[in-house]
Subunit: 307 residues, 2 copies
Amino acid sequence: MRIRELGEDSLIRKIRKRFANSASVVGIGDDAAIVEIPPEHSIVYCSDLVAESIHFLRDLHPPDSVGYKAVAVNVSDVGAMGGRPAFFTLSMSLPGDLETNWLDGFLDGVSRACADFGVHLVGGDTSSAERIFVDVSMIGHLPRGSQVLRSGAKPGDGIYVTGMLGASALGLERLRAGDASHPSVHRHLYPAPRHRVGMALASQVSAMIDISDGLSTDLYHILEESKVSCRIYKHLLPQAPDSTEHQVLHGGEEYELLIVGRNLPPKVEEVPLTLIGEVTPAAMDSQIYLIDGSRETALKPLGYKHF
Amino acid sequence: MRIRELGEDSLIRKIRKRFANSASVVGIGDDAAIVEIPPEHSIVYCSDLVAESIHFLRDLHPPDSVGYKAVAVNVSDVGAMGGRPAFFTLSMSLPGDLETNWLDGFLDGVSRACADFGVHLVGGDTSSAERIFVDVSMIGHLPRGSQVLRSGAKPGDGIYVTGMLGASALGLERLRAGDASHPSVHRHLYPAPRHRVGMALASQVSAMIDISDGLSTDLYHILEESKVSCRIYKHLLPQAPDSTEHQVLHGGEEYELLIVGRNLPPKVEEVPLTLIGEVTPAAMDSQIYLIDGSRETALKPLGYKHF
């Protein structure tokens, strides 16, 4: 069956039935949802979109990965502020001739992400379109005043990264080459956002960002916002097996956290934390210096850019 | 200049600079925004998307209308719960070869909507795509427990509608015919959501919905959720000048409020409120009965359906 035959009413009923939950005061099915966050907490609020042919290829990426990732990337953003993700809306455009199997797979992924991350679908919108387009917005919360910004890095702070780097870019490469069995492919398709690490460390770190555009680009965002520079050490970078130096330094969609702080433990919430460098004062413009043995080179942000 | 030449960084900087505001604790430019709502209030939360060739035609609809409407439709949804709209995210995909003039016009519309409705852009996402796609999510708030649902209509309640009906569908028809001077065209391009009416009446009405899919379809949503039927009177319907009966009964994108309650005043917040019928008990399935003189006919929901 195709989406056109299923029809909009049945599509919405299907989603509403599947994602009914008691976490919201009012969920899917009214003009808007009504949700609550704990007293003395602030709302953490973001949105992240997924466009066919740009973020995924219909022939290459399984539909449940598209659904899982659309939720996971927002969980990652909420976590990078130190927040606990809670509720999300899902807006999607689907071609009328899309097989309903695709939709079912997509919703499987969304559903699994809900379970994995403890978040709840509470509303959204649907329309037809020539291409699949998905936008998820998410609400999380954190104790008032405890958010961790990109702008708080100070000279002398250490720079840490969760997990390993390079796996997502490597996974995409292997997937494209038809080798879906490499462990990095799973990593690329079903990222593991580090929101639990972000929440656990929020009160003791000075800056945080999730790596969505690549280490070089997202580290540079912190430096620019904090008006500092930094040194990172090549031999300290936690490199995913089989990944290249370019994938480690510039590969996007990692959804690891880049954390700036002092004396952080080697493991938080079961996730390894690696010290990769330190924050230094900025001369004029912010710079990333990559130290490779006795060589020091300025590292340009070469991560993913749209347009 | 085209979007591709402008580049993603400049695009985001442009938006960030233009929509900087002090209403949020943290606005555009970090992983997520941090916002606050008043104590003892609940969050009203929704999203609504706008897809090129489905919701608008690039050659027909001015870009500032696309921006204005993307915000206005969410304001309308928050208002239909009785909430005060406050913050929104904007996710958009733009073709690389799109003229930056289009983006500037679009942002003019978003900006004007912010001023008109007292809402603030606090975050979002951008990507390239073959077609323009815009999704806005919005957060509003209301005193805890004061939300007005679709499911509260009771037999004996009156059915009221704000403003006039038929203008938006008429406006689209005139716009397509090349007659942009008709007042209904402005109405179609720059809808006036009735959130102030929704907020003012929240504590005294039993059900509310905004008319986005057409009177027949949205009224039917209330009946279905409330498990009731209703009678509406043709001679009572507030018909926009020059509009047809079909446009009044089924025309979408009105963004008027359909309100169910008792003894409501003829004007609220300067907006006329018209009694058009009454809620009746449902036999088996919910039905809308249209009374035209001595004739009574069952009115089918014939509003807009995707797919």
